[in-house]
Symmetry: D2
Subunit: 126 residues, 4 copies
């Protein structure tokens, strides 16, 4: 790990915490109390900071002329980590937003399902 | 773009340049002069810094409670960018390492081709 | 198109039709009338028969020593067609099964969402 | 496995064999004797017939109203099988065509590598 990373990572940690309090919980996930939600948000941010670290690791690998195949292995790991993050977001979205639309029923549900399917399609094509 | 990014990005740019000189060119891409090689290396690092910026953008989106679907769209864009980077690395690898092995022939070529295929398989599964 | 295909395709067509009537509509998509449902089922079967034709096309290509890259292009088209089919199934599943679970609420919804997410994860990894 | 499959699969097996003889071996893989080549060709055709069987299996599942998630699992298996087939074709292509171009050198190699990379890109996006 470089000094750059050591310097930036704590900043991000500080950035994330103050806003992940009760205020943040008033997002679009109504009905799910502040604690559950901010815990999930912290988990998302933690995953993303880890991915950011992987991308910086890739820069070091390229910079130090690491063998291409080893760089590609690390790219695969980062892509997998991004897709895991996407899946956890998607699961949350289905559980909250799509379910809420289902309770309302009608057009709203159709719109939400079409929107989620389009997002899954973009993930599959990427 | 946050101030964090503004602060770190120039550092990375400085980091990359001094090492991309003639010394770096003595890597495994023998026979390809320093300039061609360091240009490619700079292009790789530039791509990766852009991806790092996208990952930081994702952190801000999560932090600001941006709508899940919009976060997922940005995840797809980052995954696509990582795969483009992987493809450019792979192309370079086939052009240099696999081609060099082909000139030697025999077992070396088989080993390099099997190794490249395994790397492509990992990219497809991620 | 080979004679084999000419012989097998009508069989499949006959197979599909008689069962796609009102009886089939009493599946797990309760509350969605026979016609809407059998129309969707026919659309699914039509897509799958087209994909089957693509796979047979691939066999002919290999058999006739078509250039590898052209075979790979056709493989990509077939994979894309399979993923489109998967997305249309998934959309239907979210609209009917997940929505039904949301109306019941509680554990049933969580289980259905976890199950759908796992299926999406398998599609992403394949 | 249904009787339909039992009836069609042997036909395919008969179809493939007579043409996979020495004549077929005079394809674009010059320098690789008839036996090695026709063995590989038979392996490719065998894989594709198995995938064709999976696609027919999917038709039966849809026809019999099998639960969506189980159909999706089978779609993932078929996609994975298609990608394995693509990887084995690609490996062969790199070993023969790209290697042959490397021996010639120059523009031919660049063209072949660019073409292979484009094919890999299509596989990644599908």
């Amino acid at each position: 790990m470089t000094t750059t990373q050591a310097r930036t990572e704590p900043e991000h940690a500080q950035e994330a915490d103050p806003q992940a309090g009760p205020a943040a919980a008033e997002g679009h996930h109504g009905g799910h109390g502040p604690h559950g939600y901010s815990a999930q948000k912290d988990a998302h941010l933690k995953r993303l900071r880890r991915i950011e670290g992987q991308i910086r690791g890739l820069q070091r690998m390229v910079d130090e002329d690491v063998y291409c195949i080893d760089v590609l292995t690390q790219v695969s790991a980062s892509t997998k980590a991004l897709q895991s993050f996407a899946l956890s977001l998607l699961e949350e979205h289905l559980r909250h937003c799509v379910a809420a639309a289902a309770e309302e029923g009608g057009t709203e549900l159709d719109a939400k399902v079409a929107e989620a399917t389009a997002a899954i399609s973009r993930l599959l094509r990427s």
